[in-house]
């Protein structure tokens, strides 16, 4: 015997089965569904709330505080680099100023250096 099962017939079978589920089981399934949906919603919002909550606290356990530590490290390194660049620039400026004053006070006139 050839058993022809297409999705229309599967749907009909499932609908038929669903009508035979007792109201108590249906209510239980409904409660489980609502519970699962609520649980999913909490999971989505929890990290954002946790991040806000940990901003002012000392907790280091959360991965969010790890991000904050990284952010501070990046800021610190950026400050360090800016400071180093500024210091290097100051040295270059000081050298240039030394040469400038030497030219401006030298025995040789200015045009000797410019021409």
């Amino acid at each position: 015997m050839k058993n022809n099962l297409n999705h229309h017939s599967i749907k009909q079978l499932l609908d038929h089965s669903a009508t035979r589920i007792s109201p108590a089981t249906l209510a239980q399934l409904q409660r489980s569904r609502v519970h699962a949906l609520e649980h999913q919603r909490l999971h989505r919002t929890a990290p954002a709330l946790a991040w806000l909550g940990h901003l002012g606290s000392h907790s280091d356990s959360s991965h969010t505080s790890k991000h904050i530590r990284w952010a501070f490290a990046v800021i610190f390194v950026a400050c360090l680099f800016s400071g180093a660049a500024y210091w290097q620039n100051s040295i270059a400026d000081r050298d240039t100023s030394d040469v400038d004053i030497a030219i401006l006070t030298d025995d040789l006139p200015l045009h000797v250096y410019v021409d």
Binding site: G83, P109, V112
Partner: protein
Amino acid sequence: MRFIRSLIIATCLTVLTVLPAWAATQSWALLTPMQREALAPLAQQWDTLPEIQRKRLLGTTKRYPNLTPLQKERFQARLTDWSKLTPAQRDRARETYKALRKAPPEKREELKKMVRQQEQAKSAASSPSSAVPAATR
């Protein structure tokens, strides 16, 4: 941990607030009396000079109090011409100065002598009646 965080934030804020304040001290009105004395020939155009030029000129004034009277005179006499040069001309002058500094003293003396002779010839040509050679500036 909290202390270190506060320290980093305080450092960053200090750097961000002090640097603009430092830049603002470059206007003529805010210069020290010593800086104004050294840069007196540039008093009129000081505020119109490019920031980098002002910064470098301010750098030169740090050594101004230690100069001899003759060096101070030369400094002020050359300041206006120096500020009129283009950045490229000033860079070239610096390079020439560095190259001449490395040259042997006798070569440098030779150059000085040559320049002095040129100055004297120029002075004699401009005023034939005057026999006084022009002082090297």
